[in-house]
Symmetry: C2
Subunit: 436 residues, 2 copies
Amino acid sequence: MATEYSQSANQKAVRWHPPSYDIRVESVPIPKIQNPDDAIVKVTLAALCGSDLHIYRGHGGVDKVHTCGHEFIGEVVALGSSYGRDVKGRPALYSHLNIGDKVVSPFTVNCGECHVCRLGYTGRCPEGFLFGSPALDGGQAQYVRVPKAGGTLFNLSDSSTWSSALNEEEKRKALTDIADSSLLMLADILPTGVFAALQALNHPKVAPVITGKAWPICFSPDQVSGNEVSLIDEDKIITVAIVGLGPVGVCAAVSLLDALATRKAPFRIIAIDPLETRREKMKAVYNAISDSGKGNGEFIVQSIEESKEAVKKWTGGVGATAVLEVVGNTSALTLAYDLVRAFGVIVSVGVHGEPQMPFTGRQLYNKNVSLDFGRCPARAMFPLAFDLLVKRQDVFGGVGQPESLVDRVVDFSQATESYRAFDKGEIGKVIFDPWK
Amino acid sequence: MATEYSQSANQKAVRWHPPSYDIRVESVPIPKIQNPDDAIVKVTLAALCGSDLHIYRGHGGVDKVHTCGHEFIGEVVALGSSYGRDVKGRPALYSHLNIGDKVVSPFTVNCGECHVCRLGYTGRCPEGFLFGSPALDGGQAQYVRVPKAGGTLFNLSDSSTWSSALNEEEKRKALTDIADSSLLMLADILPTGVFAALQALNHPKVAPVITGKAWPICFSPDQVSGNEVSLIDEDKIITVAIVGLGPVGVCAAVSLLDALATRKAPFRIIAIDPLETRREKMKAVYNAISDSGKGNGEFIVQSIEESKEAVKKWTGGVGATAVLEVVGNTSALTLAYDLVRAFGVIVSVGVHGEPQMPFTGRQLYNKNVSLDFGRCPARAMFPLAFDLLVKRQDVFGGVGQPESLVDRVVDFSQATESYRAFDKGEIGKVIFDPWK
């Protein structure tokens, strides 16, 4: 049965005020349907994300009061006029979304039907907005308006819309057994981690290691080989460094391990962070993964200082095949450059600011570096991320355990203090329950 | 019959003198075998390349007199002790190279058998040197010493070593009908052009356009789709901009056209250069390509000013799927950024200098840009480049014609003047005949 919803009442919302460090829980109007494609979602849980801190700190060039948050899960309580009939050629949810359905949203809106979305680049839909920005109120509230909801939302109540590789038994368990605090990871951190891992594993410069065939014959069995001698086993070991072990970095590590275990590919992974608390979290997560999810390789967790020596030793001075940069600043990029091999790949999913890139053209030429930047197309990554979430409940299932990515669930009265403590690194990932 | 070769005599060589703009033709000793893997090649033809100008102008940080040139073709006149027996596990030419064989060399030495070479990354072999640098005398001489020649050289006299996709009739013609001035393009410009095109076409972010399947299902038919609607024909048209129409840029265009024609992929290509002479050359080359090599798409040649409007118009403001940057400076990179779409790819094969990259992290994040930098692994690209050379004798066959990449063949007495005029852009690609 559908939850009661009144457009005339007020609600509680976590609001950011300029210029910086000013978070207030305020009473504001409950959002209304504004366009036929809108949905109103009653928020069950909303999370605080590292990238919320850009605006919090006043670094976002933002000067408008708005409701924070781009990670939320909830229940549909109102739908625009586009829904409820069989709509040919539009995204599935315009036909399949109902009042009362449980949904999770990616951190940006995407229409799901324009040229950019058709290609799967949903994170850059021209009709997209970031939740929790001056353009679109966020999910740290009791209700949130979701524009283009039929293209944006993922319906957790209707497995026929999932496009998942899960079998029927796994789907049934997914519908009933997974906690909302776990499903909420789909909003941002899990698809972004999967995106980082996927880009590295699919990059042409990584292909020789993965396929066991030299460049350029790695691309197609029809292509011809050159003068080279055959690859040996050592050449087929992929070495990956992950720089930054916040929640996204940990998700990237779990995704990478899963993908390499599935492919039975030998590997060495080094996960790097300057903070001991984050390194300990990464170790606990790794230890909680069942053997089948760990695959056939070495996995170590180190500080920045130790990491260069470790990669050098592992690879005989050659460097890492790929580096996942999950921080978003120039010192992380510089470390990534130092660690990566010639003909290596740096995948950067961190949100970067105004500083110039810390490389000269000659540095990039001399090492034949490839760089993949940018925001995760979260909605497009949902099927892969969802399947991984279901598979890895050993690490994505809990709250407050050593291996949990979620540190605590709190009510809005603790919102201001939570922002402060999260910004200072005193606490891990926080989820708000707007109804407690 | 083998050419006469005397280690005790002197030879003519084009030599660079510090600090800059000082080219002299001098008499120097003929090189000797120094190591068992060496070969001595009697140079038939040697070309002047745009990247020779870095040292010429004094920008290379070089202060040692040396013989210039990294593009040469010739005949083997002496071999070290590693050759002439069946050597298991070493590159083919240690068994198959003979005195008198016609050979072409890539612009760098590569051993062909270390970890880096086994992966096909021959341009970054740790035992590699660039010909025509203080570390290794170049090919603008009557004789040149080729270290690690069994891994480095391509044997134009023995089609059994080619690993080519050509049929027997094509191979026979290749052995007899192709001019040395055409084969010389294998040394650098043709494999580098193929490398640029190949990197763009194989990049994961280009995959949805090429495969017609959305990200991330483009990677594997087993992967699951998301909420997206199907791609339409317009989504499957690849739009590529080529920035810089020197010889490498033209080769990149021909390679790209050939690859897209082979795949029957619809395309739009815009080839861009500020110089009208280069644009005219590009147009003449395009017109000389037979219809089967032109494929199914539009090809236009424009100035920088016109190009932004053209790409905008073609793509409804979205931008180019990929940009090939074949210049090697920051203004070319900036233009590439302006032209590329969100989730687009910039492939940079230009030789870059010390200036900082002209992008902020935020710019790259906001457009989800991918960048592939670096030197072509020329030896690894030889089979693909060679097949294209044979196929495209309509444009790669001549000298001094409107569609020819080679402007003229001159003797060493014109070396000093040729460097000057080439540096000023007064003449196109020059080949030296050391024996005229």
